[in-house]
Amino acid sequence: MNTLLEVSDLRTQFHTPEGNVFAVNGISFNINEGETLAVVGESGCGKSVTMMSILGLIPIPPGEIVSGAAVYRGRDLLKMSEHELQRVRGKEIAMVFQDPMTSLNPVLTVQRQITESLRTHMGMDAPIASRRALELLDLVGIPDAARRLNEYPHQFSGGMRQRVMIAMALACQPSLLIADEPTTALDVTIQAQIIELAMRMRDQLGMAMIWITHDLGVVAGLAERVIVMYAGFIVEEAGVDDLYDDPRHPYTLALLGALPRADRRRHQRLKSIPGAPPSLLVQPRGCPFAPRCELAADKCWAESPSLRPVGAGHRLACWFDVKEMAS
């Protein structure tokens, strides 16, 4: 398997009037061709900012990519100019966002928005691009596609809009699709449709996918590998079966323990994690999860643990290893 994207030690901060926001604090991960990676975390953990940093989509006055590299097919995206990045975005790496209403231009028809990408990146002329747009709408399962090509975003339902977003993202057959919470705002049955669509597209096009979400249920059904983020750090990384069978980080464990199950009878209270995520305005020192961790010791407050391997494809950022402790 070839490595498609390799991110090393990415650090992103925002300079605001209230102080410096340490949004991403040293993230390193890879994604291989054709692989599906899920990035899981709660709000504020930095999962979106990471992806936006990679694609150069964060506003650079308040934002600053302090350090790091994001090497895509041998070239560092973080060092590219805006002009060069524009050639990568949409064509090589496409992104789908959470709220399709605000990501689609309300005054342009759907056809116009899909063909824009085709004409810019592939140099297609209008009639060919329109035909391709029709194919794409069919591909993503929009009924009566020919008529709907000329409609505007507000004439579509939430789920349909998200399909249009996916069609736009897939137009130039990118090697990597980054989906940032694409189904969070959708009903559960529509979510199932969209996930099924994404997986079908992935299989058909051999595309790699990074799926950002906070929903551990969605991750279980979709991902091959999972990264768990907290307060701008990666705390655990594992293959999907491994993560659910054998979670090692206290945060992962706590997160899984806080989840109610629709498939099992209730047998105990949900284990809640006391407190709340830390303020990102404070320079991180020590393990970010220490204030809420049952196991926190002096070492945890003093020094931030780095990711170390604890099994096949399984990395952990913790001074303890719950597995070793249990035995």
């Binding site: 349909m160 559960v188 969605v218 059904g221 659910y244 629709a262 209270r269 284990k271 809640s272 995520p277």
Partner: protein
């Protein structure tokens, strides 16, 4: 390795299953009774005198009862009318027809002075912790408002004391009484909302998606809080939600809504283990399970298309346009909600 303060020194609470009918001693009058409740919103046009051009049939005739101390879950997807149902049964929207009563007090029959009495007994917790608190009011004012409106306690000092007690009850620091909502996190604001709902010492609380806007780790905190309060204060809940996993966890009975109607009602485990209505089956099969092996193994029923508009619902059974087992008569006749097994009601022609 140090052991920090344990999270709870209460034994894990094992919630008893609701009493099956034959275990009841004599008839028990339900605390909450909703009967054929309808709420239509008119679509209007016109400048000075508005003409009605259509009706959004948000809630189109629902009935249910809730026993004292019970938690009924009301689930469905967006547009099914569950939030409208919750608000209408509390009189926040005037019902188009039908009735709702709490502890014998009937909403329709109330005049203004008794409406206040109703409001003491039946309260609401809202979904959006950012919008449900007045940003210009202090926490003291917000939580104390029910105390003032209902004239509980005689002096301002006594009310302030009670506000502090309520904050402690929901796990907030009483020192923060004079702060403003924007200084608190989402989970804390939701707790403030809970404290406000408790201030009038209600019997019944409608929880309208109280945790949807919160992070996963905070959701568990708030749900545990709601359960503890229920046990301590003997509260009755209507839990409106779209998160089916959470509903299974906290509710005793569950009612499933689709396009303004209840399609299935049952005891909790029975609904999840043997759902009878095709919509319920599809809904449950779409719920993500945080267990990759199990998730891969199960059968998915994927519904086609989108939910029809409540402006113009399909004829007959509303679900027939997307139903995998629909037959011709389903488009003609509206199925009634019938008890097909003990305590298990379904509205479907194909279920016997």
């Amino acid at each position: 390795m140090t052991q920090t303060v344990s999270k709870t020194s209460i034994e894990p609470v094992v919630r008893p299953a609701p009493l099956a009918p034959h275990e009841l001693v004599g008839p028990i009058e339900p605390l909450v009774r909703v009967s054929a409740l309808k709420k239509y919103f008119p679509m209007t046009r016109g400048l000075i005198f508005q003409r009605v051009t259509g009706q959004v049939r948000a809630v189109d005739g629902i009935s249910f009862t809730i026993l004292r101390g019970e938690t009924l879950g009301l689930v469905g997807e967006s547009g099914c009318g569950k939030t409208t149902a919750g608000r209408t049964m509390l009189g926040l929207y005037r019902p188009t027809s039908g009735s709702a009563s709490v502890d014998g007090l009937d909403l329709q029959a109330l005049h203004n002075s008794q409406l206040l009495h109703f409001r003491r007994k039946a309260q609401m917790i809202f979904q959006d912790p950012y919008a449900s608190l007045n940003p210009r009011w202090t926490v003291n004012a917000i939580v104390g408002e029910p105390l003032r409106v209902h004239n509980l306690f005689k002096t301002e000092r006594q009310r302030a004391e009670r506000v502090k007690e309520l904050l402690e009850l929901v796990g907030l620091n009483a020192r923060h009484v004079n702060r403003f909502p924007h200084e608190f996190s989402g989970g804390q604001r939701q707790r403030i909302g809970v404290a406000r709902a408790l201030a009038s010492e209600p019997l019944f609380i409608v929880c309208d998606e109280p945790i949807s806007a919160l992070d996963v780790s905070i959701q568990a905190q708030v749900v545990n809080l709601l359960e503890d309060l229920q046990d301590r204060l003997g509260l009755t809940y209507l839990f409106i939600a779209h998160d089916l996993s959470m509903v299974r966890h906290i509710c005793d009975r569950v009612a499933v809504m689709y396009l303004g109607l209840i399609v299935e009602t049952s005891g909790r485990d029975e609904l999840y283990e043997s759902p009878l209505h095709p919509y319920t089956q599809a809904l449950l099969s779409a719920v993500p399970i945080p267990d990759p092996k199990k998730d891969r193994a199960r059968r998915r029923i994927t519904l086609q298309g989108d939910v029809p508009s409540p402006l113009n619902p399909p004829s007959g059974c509303r679900f027939h346009t997307r139903c995998p087992i629909a037959r011709s008569h389903c488009a003609e006749q509206v199925p009634e909600l019938r008890e097909v097994m003990s305590g298990h009601y379904v509205a479907c022609h194909e279920v016997k």
